[in-house]
């Protein structure tokens, strides 16, 4: 094992998935679609999807995918030209994605709710001249009655073919486009299915919208492995009673979702005994969330899963509800993942301490569509100890003396104030604890004396409900001296947000700080 490397769940140096968990990796050229077609041959009449409480069989989904492939052909798109798919989560859209994957045609799944201008810029960046938006029912079920013997979906994708083009939920401006290869996503679905016992007679919930990387796990790994996916309708995704009923009625076994789903399900106040595996990902579980999870899912193994869109999942922690406390550890690298902690001086951190997490996974993107963004996001091992290409996650991870790894926050939010390390996000979280605070963003601005001076911009709920003295007193109670903002600006206007609902830091800075200086 290399010095400073973080040992994988099962093997220290395993790059090859075959070594792990006894997974038999199929032929090199196999991908999500070829795996799906194997399932279609084996279990034509078994359910692949549950949509609005009705089953869609593997055979029916395959027929719709064939119809989608014929439709794509009829459009006369240029060879290999990327397209965008702007459609809600339905069996039709899933069939269309299968057809695009089979064709080896790159497709962008833009986030919902983008401003028209942002969407246009994103499509332009992705090189998408065509936007596909199939009508509900366009590829079936009337197609179910004929064409059954039409043959199979034709697969021309190669291992290096780009299929999915997902986007990062960037905190500033235009989301970055993350293309994924057929080979990378193929490796990922093998890992997910094997690790969480996804396969025939197993039911997996899909909570995330189609453009989220989480779908590679719950939709695409399940369809590759012969299981059944219960699709949550995006419009109902925050209705607790609907969600609880869906899981209970369809006896879901595997749930992978952001902690918010588990919080919503816990409102049912009754356990869900069918769930055997529950995976929280995408956000930190709170203390209350952790306690609820064990009560809600008494028969489930519980996991905390860490990953980024660029690398897909990379760390897994099996939760012990009796012994674990928040913040939960991120756990160990999953199979084939190589990870390092790198300190601010660029040295690989060997012992305890905090460093930026560098990750290499068998699932990772070849790089952003916009090549200018790839340095310094992707790069070699800091000391060239191997020839792997690492992704600089931007996440700061703490390693304790016993080797436990926990997430500290984003590297770009760490600054030094009077020589003391401060995370501006931690300051924001402290400000949001005040009931009167509706939104808060903290900037570090260069300061001749302090190195950095913290400037907080706060949207208060009601005019005159809050003054800076109360904010300062609260900060003094909750934060270290250096983390108390130097300047506090209160506003009665909501702070500008990005397309993904996060504070638009660039605009806030421009409006409140640069105007002022």
């Amino acid at each position: 094992m290399r010095m400073g490397g973080i040992r994988c769940e099962h093997h220290s140096r395993s790059i090859v998935l075959e070594n792990c968990l006894g997974v038999v990796v199929q032929h090199y050229s196999s991908n999500i679609v070829t795996r799906f077609l194997t399932q279609v041959r084996r279990r034509r009449n078994e359910p692949a999807l549950v949509w609005r409480h009705a089953d869609v069989s593997y055979g029916a989904l395959h027929r719709r995918a064939c119809a989608a492939q014929r439709w794509l052909r009829s459009l006369g798109l240029p060879e290999g030209a990327p397209v965008a798919v702007r459609a809600s989560k339905t069996p039709e859209t899933i069939a269309l994605i299968l057809a695009l994957l089979a064709d080896g045609r790159p497709f962008l799944l833009p986030p919902a709710g983008l401003a028209e201008e942002t969407l246009a810029a994103l499509l332009d960046k992705a090189g998408c001249a065509t936007v596909l938006a199939p009508e509900p029912g366009q590829f079936g079920p009337e197609h179910d009655d004929f064409g059954d013997e039409d043959g199979e979906l034709r697969v021309s994708a190669r291992p290096e073919s780009i299929g999915f083009m997902l986007t990062t939920s960037g905190s500033t401006g235009l989301p970055k486009i993350v293309p994924l290869t057929a080979e990378g996503t193929g490796h990922f679905v093998d890992w997910a299915a094997a690790r969480f016992n996804i396969g025939p007679q197993r039911t997996v919930l899909n909570y995330a919208p189609l453009n989220f990387d989480l779908c590679l796990f719950d939709i695409w790994a399940t369809l590759s492995a012969g299981g059944r996916v219960v699709l949550v309708e995006t419009d109902n995704a925050t209705r607790a009673a609907y969600l609880y009923d869906l899981l209970e009625r369809h006896e879901v076994h595997v749930v992978q979702a952001v902690p918010m789903l588990f919080t919503l399900l816990a409102e049912g106040k009754r356990p869900l005994p069918s769930v055997t595996h529950a995976i929280a990902t995408g956000d930190a579980l709170t203390k209350r969330g952790l306690a609820q999870l064990a009560e809600l899912l008494p028969n489930a193994r519980l996991y905390n899963l860490y990953g980024c869109t660029e690398t897909n999942d990379s760390f897994l922690h099996k939760i012990d509800p009796a012994a674990d406390h928040t913040p939960l550890p991120i756990g160990r690298p999953i199979c084939g993942v190589e990870a390092l902690l790198v300190d601010p001086g660029g040295e690989v951190l060997v012992g305890p301490g905090i460093g930026e997490l560098y990750v290499h996974t068998p699932f990772q993107t070849p790089g952003y569509t916009d090549a200018a963004l790839n340095t310094p996001a992707f790069g070699p091992h800091p000391t060239y100890a191997n020839d792997l290409r690492y992704f600089r996650s931007g996440d700061l991870v703490r390693r304790t003396a016993d080797g436990t790894l926990t997430l500290e926050g984003r590297a770009d939010f760490h600054v030094k104030v009077r020589g003391v390390r401060v995370n501006t996000q931690a300051v924001e979280l402290a400000l949001l604890e005040l009931d009167e605070v509706a939104g808060a963003v903290v900037f570090a601005l260069p300061d001749q004396v302090a190195g950095n001076a913290l400037h907080a911009v706060i949207h208060r709920r009601d005019p005159e409900s809050l003054h800076s003295l109360a904010v300062r007193a609260h900060c003094a109670r909750r934060l270290s001296r250096a983390a108390v903002p130097t300047a506090i600006q209160l506003t009665d206007e909501p702070l500008p947000t990005t397309s993904t609902g996060k504070p638009d830091r660039a605009r806030i800075k421009q409006t409140y700080l640069e105007g002022q200086r």
């Binding site: 004396v449 007193a473 003094a476 001296r481 108390v484 903002p485 209160l490």
Partner: protein, 85 residues
């Protein structure tokens, strides 16, 4: 004689332009809350020297003496007899 009002007005004008006088109590911790940082402390001391003609160079400076308006007031009272003596 108490200088609380004078000190309060200085702190408000210099460090808290957005705060009205009624909101700032004389026992509010100005140091822990970052109202007065190290640079602010230098400003405050320079103002005390000039406004109250205190020979501060001769007096030992303890940040606790400037933690609240009451503490600053007490500091002035302690320092003033020193000028007389």
């Amino acid at each position: 004689m108490s200088h609380v009002q004078t000190i309060k007005q200085f702190v408000l004008d210099e460090f808290l332009p957005d705060v009205s006088g009624g909101d700032l109590t004389t026992d509010y911790d100005l140091v822990a809350t970052g109202v007065i940082d190290s640079l602010g402390l230098l400003k405050l001391i320079a103002w005390l020297e000039e406004r109250f003609e205190l020979p501060i160079d001769d007096i030992e400076l303890d940040p606790d003496s400037f933690r609240t308006i009451d503490a600053i007031d007490a500091f002035i009272l302690r320092a003033e007899p020193a000028t007389a003596g």
